[in-house]
């Protein structure tokens, strides 16, 4: 009886395995559906635990999302980093950028520099205040309610003295702050050197109008542009052409900075040495241009 039981057990399982393998094998052929080979490849690279930890329903769904809708490659908590790099390999994306991108806040006026500030009651966010006239005179500059601080997951940007200030040690350049700022004064800029030059003002109005609202704003006097080729005045504001940025011009640039009557040319950032090494050989980035908008409320209202 013992042997029979043992035999029968083994046989039962064996029979089941045979039947199932056969059926499934047949089914996989009979019901074959064309899929993107990358989906399969990623599916194979993923652990297949189907734990749902990635936020998708199961590994296959995630694989599809990666291929079809460009989901991030590093979402699988089970597979971890090794899995992420494998998936990245399949997708042909690089993990890591060629040069560090960091946010630059193009406003440097402290509370005391701003004219026409009024007490504001309402939703205490920049987004909200941006829709109300008269919170402060300047309609371009930082509002200081810290929407950017709230979205930064890395605790890297803070409102100090009424103006958003990036902590370049912590910032990883995710760009969240830039996309949330309702005044579009944060640009995500490639850092070619540990410190780059930036314009600390976004006001595109004429000098007189700027002076009416801000103690320190750029008045578009063109002093810098006269000193160095690298500056070009567009809409009453200098833009900096990083193509022409090299060691020789740094002297001119320093001079230009000195000439600026309002001291609005500033050096920002101090990315690590590693970043500098990493970006040494990369081609210089194109002109960085902040997408300033005359911002207050472009929604249609009423009717």
């Amino acid at each position: 009886m013992n042997i029979v039981t043992i035999g029968l057990s083994a046989a039962t399982l064996f029979a089941m395995a045979v039947v199932i393998c056969y059926i499934l094998g047949w089914a996989s052929k009979a019901f074959y559906v064309e899929v993107d080979p990358r989906v399969e490849a990623i599916g194979a690279a993923l652990p297949g635990a189907n734990c749902g930890g990635c936020g998708f329903v199961g590994c296959n769904d995630y694989a599809e999302a990666v291929v079809l809708s460009g989901a991030p490659v590093d979402k699988c908590p089970v597979g971890g980093a090794s899995c992420a790099s494998e998936v990245a390999g399949i997708m042909g994306v690089e993990v890591g950028e060629s040069y560090p991108q960091r946010p630059v806040v193009h406003c440097t006026a402290k509370y005391s520099d701003r004219k026409g500030r009024h007490e504001y009651r309402g939703e205490m966010t920049c987004k909200g205040a941006n829709m109300v006239a008269g919170v402060q005179g300047c309609t371009y500059g930082c509002l200081g309610f810290g929407d950017c601080t709230r979205v930064c997951k890395y605790d890297a940007i803070h409102v100090i003295d009424g103006v958003a200030t990036v902590d370049y040690d912590k910032c990883i350049g995710c760009g969240a702050c830039g996309s949330v700022c309702p005044r579009n004064i944060i640009t995500i800029t490639p850092f070619k050197k540990s410190q780059i030059l930036a314009v600390g003002c976004s006001n595109k109005d004429k000098g007189k109008d700027v002076m009416a609202v801000c103690e320190v704003g750029c008045i578009g006097c063109k002093a810098c542009a006269r000193k160095s080729e690298i500056f070009k005045i567009v809409d009453n504001l200098p833009t900096i052409n990083y193509d022409n940025w090299d060691a020789e011009c740094s002297l001119e640039v320093l001079e230009a900075c000195e000439k600026c009557p309002r001291n609005r040319l500033i050096f920002v950032g101090e990315p690590s040495d590693a970043d500098i090494v990493a970006t040494k050989d990369k081609e210089a980035p194109e002109i960085i241009e902040a997408d300033f908008k005359t911002t207050v409320d472009d929604t249609e209202w009423r009717g």
């Binding site: 057990s9 083994a10 399982l13 064996f14 393998c21």
Partner: protein, 227 residues
Amino acid sequence: MKPIQQMEPLSPTAFERLRNNNIIQAWLVLILTLCFGSSLAGIQMTLGPKIEENKLNETLEKIPELILGAEGAQKLTESGEKLDVIPRSFVVDKPGKKAVYNVYEAFDKDKKRLGWVVKTGGQGYADRIELLLGVDPEVKTVSGIFVLEQKETPGLGNKITFEEWRGQFKGKNTETPMGVVKGGKAGAGDINAITGATISSRAVTDIVNMAVADLKGPLTANAEGGK
């Protein structure tokens, strides 16, 4: 589960066909099933009897106590003796209900019938309550009950498992069904409800009443005819 990979189209040569055969592809699975199947059966062979014994013992161990009472059982163990227990089953056929009772008939070493132990159960407050009911050979009095399984509320309903409460059943007459009385003023034929758990108390009493009613006839009939 990962979908089993799609097969290449069946290739013409016999060898290729063999290699691509679904079953052959899964050779590891097959071998493992063989190993696992037989080793499991082996385990079953070795542990199976022990488990069966455990299951049975759960009931058997209680029988002396249910029949003889706690001291009686104590004495019995001290004397190293054992009761002779014969498991039987009775089918009760009633309109609208067909029930099967597992009943253990207990004899002492002189083959004298000491009593019956009935395994029975019914709906309690939360879930089914399973219990053992001991009665004397003539099914005149209850000699004890024991709760095997219950999921009543701890602190309330689960007091039915406590000796203080279930002890009440001992010696109760089975002539008339037992009633449940709240407030601790039960008469001779009644059971005191647990405070705050009348439902559980009543459920147990009902189960006992029902079993007694169902089995009184057959058991006494059997007792007379037996021996």
